[in-house]
Every structure is written in structure tokens, then in C-alpha cells.
């Protein structure tokens, strides 16, 4: 039997979680502040949420961000599933070390370097910067996360089921569609969601690779935050946090249920 955490560990956890959550909760609370002065509580109000709807520039940036994130994460998922499959199921091919290195490298590469190098590459092939270049940039770093999730999931499954289907005469495409894909589906969805949030959140790489008319939401937030704290930004931050928290909770509940069903089916 495991001994529960003692008083010291308990207080460390309480303080630690307070440190992790207090800033976000304070920000959310102050988004409902009636006063324009950010630190003076002027009563409860939803006026900043109402004003958000008339801020055309912010709404436009939000629209662009969602479009970029949806496109980039779909592209990243397709590329990442292929890369993860190759790493997990093909033990040797020409340049495998370089390939696995390139899949891991973007995860530890400082964002400023990724952004700078992509921008210089786009310029050197005289590609106009805008929606497409941000999508390419986001898909490139997100696909690595997807590849690692898929590789981990595939390594956890025995290859013999796929081989058995092949031996029974199923074509490779059929094996992938009927056996491999269902096995990695939770990973595919997790990977897509992760790519979507990474893209929606990215400031540095988007700042390097965007062009006129393609300002994303983080870029817009960043430029107004530089001028100081504004209640409107608090409001949009609260909306974003709410959406992400809801998405995460729904997805983890769905995963838990699917897992429980599988256990039930297996029993």
C-alpha cells in the first residue's frame, strides 16, 4: 500500500497548483471587470465581450488564425501519420538516421531560428508571404509532434495483426485502412488537436512567415499587449482558454469512454 503524501508535499502541491492557476483565474476574473482600469475592480460587467464583437481587426485576426490552424493541422496530421508510420514500421531505409533526426529536431529548435530560416527560404524562392507560408511553417513543426505520437502508438501494437491480414491476401491499402488506421485513430485525433492548438498559439514563427493581410490572433494580441494590459484582450483570452479547456475535457472523457468500452468488449 502506497503511503499518501505528507504535510510538506501536500502544501507544496497546493502552493504549486495555486502558482499555476492563479494568474489565469485572475485574468479571467478581470475580463468581467466593468472598469477600464485593469487593476481597479469596478463591478461585474460583460461590456468587454460586447465590445469584442465590434473590434473588426481582432475578429479578422481570429478568423485567419482558425483557418490557418485548421489547414495546417490537417496537413500536419497527414504528413505526421506517414512519418510516424515510416519510423515505427520500416526498420531500415536510405537515410533513416537523417530522417528521424529531422523529425525530432524541430521539437528542440528555438522558434526564432525556425521562423528566421523559413522566412529566408521563402524569400530566396521569391514566394509571397501570407496565408500559405504560415500554413507551411506550422505544418512543418506540428507534423513532428504528430509523428512522435503515431510512432509511440504504433510501437505499442504488435505488427502480427497487420502481417496476418497481409498473409490472408488483403492488399496493403486495405490493411492500412481496416487495421492500422483504426488502431492509431486516437493518436491521429490527439495529433490533430495538438497541431491545432500549437498553430493557434504560435506567435514567433507566424510573425516571421506572415505577410500583409495575414495577421494572426497571437500577433494581434502581442502588438496590443506591448502597449499594456487591456480588458478586451482579457476577454478574448478568457474565450480562448474556455474553448481549449472545454475541448481538452471533452476529448479526455471521450478517450476514457472508448478505452472503457474496449476493456468491456475484450472481457
Amino acid at each position: 500500500m502506497r503511503k499518501g503524501p505528507g504535510l510538506f508535499l501536500r502544501s507544496a502541491m497546493v502552493l504549486g497548483f495555486a502558482f499555476l492557476y492563479a494568474p489565469i483565474l485572475i485574468l479571467m476574473l478581470y475580463s468581467f471587470n466593468a472598469s477600464k482600469l485593469v487593476t481597479v475592480w469596478g463591478g461585474f460587467s460583460t461590456r468587454w465581450y460586447v465590445e469584442l464583437w465590434s473590434n473588426a481587426a481582432l475578429l479578422d485576426a481570429a478568423r485567419i488564425s482558425v483557418l490557418v490552424a485548421a489547414t495546417a493541422s490537417t496537413l500536419a496530421t497527414v504528413l505526421g501519420v506517414m512519418a510516424g508510420y515510416a519510423l515505427a514500421r520500416v526498420p531500415s531505409f536510405f537515410g533513416r538516421t537523417l530522417f528521424s533526426g529531422m523529425v525530432l529536431a524541430p521539437l528542440v529548435m528555438p522558434e526564432v531560428i525556425t521562423g528566421l530560416s523559413l522566412l529566408l527560404a521563402f524569400i530566396s524562392i521569391s514566394m509571397d508571404r501570407g496565408f500559405t507560408t504560415i500554413v507551411i511553417a506550422h505544418a512543418t513543426f506540428s507534423m513532428c509532434y504528430v509523428a512522435i505520437v503515431i510512432q509511440a502508438r504504433l510501437s505499442g501494437f504488435d505488427q502480427s495483426v497487420e502481417e496476418a491480414a497481409e498473409d490472408l491476401g488483403a492488399r496493403p491499402a486495405t490493411v492500412f485502412r481496416r487495421i492500422t488506421l483504426p488502431l492509431i485513430m486516437p493518436g491521429v485525433i490527439s495529433g490533430w488537436l495538438l497541431s491545432f492548438t500549437l498553430s493557434l498559439d504560435d506567435l514567433v514563427i507566424a510573425s516571421f512567415t506572415s505577410g500583409p493581410g495575414s495577421t494572426t490572433l497571437p500577433m494581434k494580441i502581442f502588438s496590443s499587449v506591448r502597449l499594456g494590459v487591456t480588458p478586451e484582450i482579457n476577454a478574448i483570452a478568457t474565450i480562448l482558454i474556455g474553448l481549449v479547456a472545454a475541448g481538452t475535457i471533452i476529448w479526455s472523457l471521450a478517450l476514457k469512454r472508448a478505452e472503457a468500452n474496449r476493456v468491456k468488449a475484450a472481457a
Binding site: 502506497r2 499518501g4 503524501p5 510538506f8 508535499l9 501536500r10 507544496a12 502541491m13 504549486g16 497548483f17 502558482f19 499555476l20 494568474p23 485572475i26 485574468l27 478581470y30 487593476t39 504528413l79 505526421g80 512519418a83 515510416a86 514500421r89 531505409f93 530522417f99 529531422m102 523529425v103 524541430p106 528542440v108 528555438p110 522558434e111 526564432v112 531560428i113 528566421l116 530560416s117 529566408l120 527560404a121 530566396s124 507534423m143 505488427q159 502481417e163 497481409e166 498473409d167 496493403p172 491499402a173 493557434l200 498559439d201 514567433v204 494580441i221 502581442f222 499587449v225 506591448r226 494590459v229 482579457n234 483570452a237 480562448l240 482558454i241 481549449v244 479547456a245 481538452t248 479526455s252
Partner: protein, 301 residues
């Protein structure tokens, strides 16, 4: 049949390898080589603001013998750059240590909680990772500002007579880094501490070791892999950090990510920005290689 890779399933596999391979070469490897190339070219006031080192493969070969290293020499001559690098390493190392001190007891506490609690507590650790990094850093601006929430509170309870200047100081950067990267520290620590064999602790206690001795002699050494992984995961991204020093440190903290940004966006010196990037990567290569080796050994072991 295991050896069917070259057989009838060959085409699907070939595509699965080739497409992401070419994509990464085009959008990861090639761009980096371009940075390398521009870092050894000469600054020019033009669009694009640099003179290419070479325009054709033939010219490239002649230039390879005499690359222009002026940008790199400049980085070593001007103390601004050296200080940025050293400052980044110092800030990243100290914040990693602080994150370890905050994260270790949390991870240990979670690992020793009951099974029902563990899942919920872990979700609480991971959840901030899913919420916007920029927003989490921004949340601290409202707290740490001179007329911010922390100062108002401290003034109200009478601890201080005058507002503290925390925003736009290195202290704010440390707080920001520890806060932002704490989950990266807790997760690997948790996964080693969770596997810790309880009977070892009981054995130590039975042999008369006091709890603190047991911790120093048993728990801490056994959790070293988690400590190493957590420290790398905090240290590496912290060195190249841009958002935190920009929003919380201001001009008080010159970190290399900010230097690169301003060299590129404000001074428009692309070759110099490129050589800052190359040098930053060189600084990071050592810890990254150590970490990857380490991760591979842990993964296979």
C-alpha cells in the same frame, strides 16, 4: 511475413517515407542551410538586404574557400552579443534550477497520491500546456506591473509602503520561465517517481534511516533520470525564449532570442541575424545531443 517491405506492400511504404522526407528537406533542412549561407554574406541596404555569397553552383565552389566571416567576428567584438548569449544561459540555468525546486515536491506529491487523485492532478498539470503560452505570459503582466494586482494587494495589506518594481526586471523573467515551463519539469519527474519501488523506502526506514536520509540516499538518486529529462526540457527552450523576456523583462534583460528578433525586425540586418541564429544553435547543440542520446538510452532501457 516480416520481410515484405520490398514486396507487394512496397509502394505504400515508399510514399509514407518519401513524402514527409522531402517535405522536411524542403522546409526544415534547406531553410537552415540558407541561414548558414546568408550568415556568411555581406550586408547590403537593399531588398533583400544582403548580397548573396554565390549565385550559381560554380560560384559557390569558389566562395567556399573564402567565406565571409565578418558577421561572426562582429558578434565576438561587440559585447552586446556575448552578453546576450551568456545572459540567456545564466537565466535559463537558474530558472531550470528554480523549476526543479518547485516541481520536484509537486511531482513527488502527485506520485504518492491515491490512484483516483493522480489522474486528476496530472490533468491539472497538463491543462496549462494546452492553453495559450502568450496568454499565460500576458497574465503575469497584469499581476506584476507597478500598478498591478500584486502591488495593490501588498499595499492594501500594508506589507510595503511603495509599489515594488518587478515588471521589466530579470525577476519577472525568472517567474515567467518557471511558470511557463513547470509542466515540462513535473511530467518526467512524475514518471520516474511513480515507478519508484516503495519497498526500498520501507527497507531504509526499517534499517533506521530517518525520512530525510531516505530521501537523500534512496529517492533522489533513483529519480535522477527524471531530474535530467525535466532539466533539459526546461533549459533548452528557455535559452532561445523570446516572448517572456520581451513582455516581462523589457530592456532590462537582453536574451539572445530578443537580440535576434530586434536585429532582424528593427535593424534589418539579415546576415547578422542569421549568424546570431547559427551561433545560438551551436550553443544549444551540446545539450540537445546529450539529451537525445540520453532519451534514446532511456527509451531502449
Amino acid at each position: 511475413m516480416a520481410g515484405s517491405a520490398g514486396g507487394h506492400s512496397g509502394w505504400g511504404r515508399r510514399i509514407a517515407i518519401l513524402v514527409p522526407y522531402l517535405w522536411l528537406i524542403a522546409f526544415f533542412l534547406a531553410p537552415f542551410l540558407i541561414v548558414l549561407k546568408i550568415s556568411i554574406s555581406t550586408t547590403a541596404i537593399a531588398q533583400p538586404p544582403y548580397v548573396p555569397v554565390w549565385d550559381s553552383v560554380g560560384a559557390a565552389l569558389t566562395h567556399l574557400g573564402s567565406p565571409n566571416l565578418d558577421n561572426y567576428l562582429f558578434l565576438f567584438e561587440d559585447s552586446l552579443y556575448i552578453n546576450s548569449y551568456l545572459n540567456s544561459l545564466k537565466i535559463a540555468a537558474l530558472s531550470t534550477l528554480m523549476a526543479l525546486l518547485v516541481g520536484y515536491p509537486m511531482a513527488y506529491g502527485i506520485a504518492r497520491s491515491s490512484r483516483n487523485w493522480r489522474g486528476a492532478l496530472l490533468t491539472l498539470v497538463i491543462l496549462p500546456f494546452w492553453t495559450s503560452f502568450l496568454i499565460r505570459v500576458y497574465a503575469w503582466v497584469g499581476i506584476l506591473k507597478t500598478e498591478g494586482i500584486l502591488n495593490s494587494f501588498l499595499l492594501w495589506i500594508g506589507v510595503i509602503a511603495e509599489p515594488l518594481q518587478i515588471h521589466f526586471t530579470p525577476t519577472a523573467v525568472y517567474i515567467g520561465i518557471v511558470y511557463s515551463y513547470l509542466p515540462f519539469m513535473i511530467l518526467p519527474l512524475y514518471s520516474t517517481l511513480e515507478k519508484l519501488d516503495e519497498s526500498l523506502l520501507e527497507a531504509a526506514a526499517d534499517l533506521g534511516a530517518r525520512p530525510l536520509t531516505t530521501f537523500w540516499k534512496v529517492t533522489l538518486p533513483l529519480s535522477l533520470p527524471g531530474i535530467a529529462a525535466g532539466c533539459f526540457l526546461v533549459f533548452i527552450p528557455a535559452v532561445g525564449e523570446f516572448v517572456i523576456p520581451e513582455l516581462l523583462g523589457g530592456s532590462s534583460t537582453q536574451m539572445i532570442g530578443r537580440t535576434l528578433w530586434s536585429e532582424f525586425f528593427q535593424n534589418r540586418d539579415w546576415p547578422l541575424a542569421s549568424s546570431v541564429a547559427v551561433l545560438l544553435l551551436m550553443v544549444l547543440v551540446v545539450p540537445i545531443v546529450i539529451f537525445q542520446r540520453y532519451a534514446r538510452r532511456e527509451g531502449t532501457g
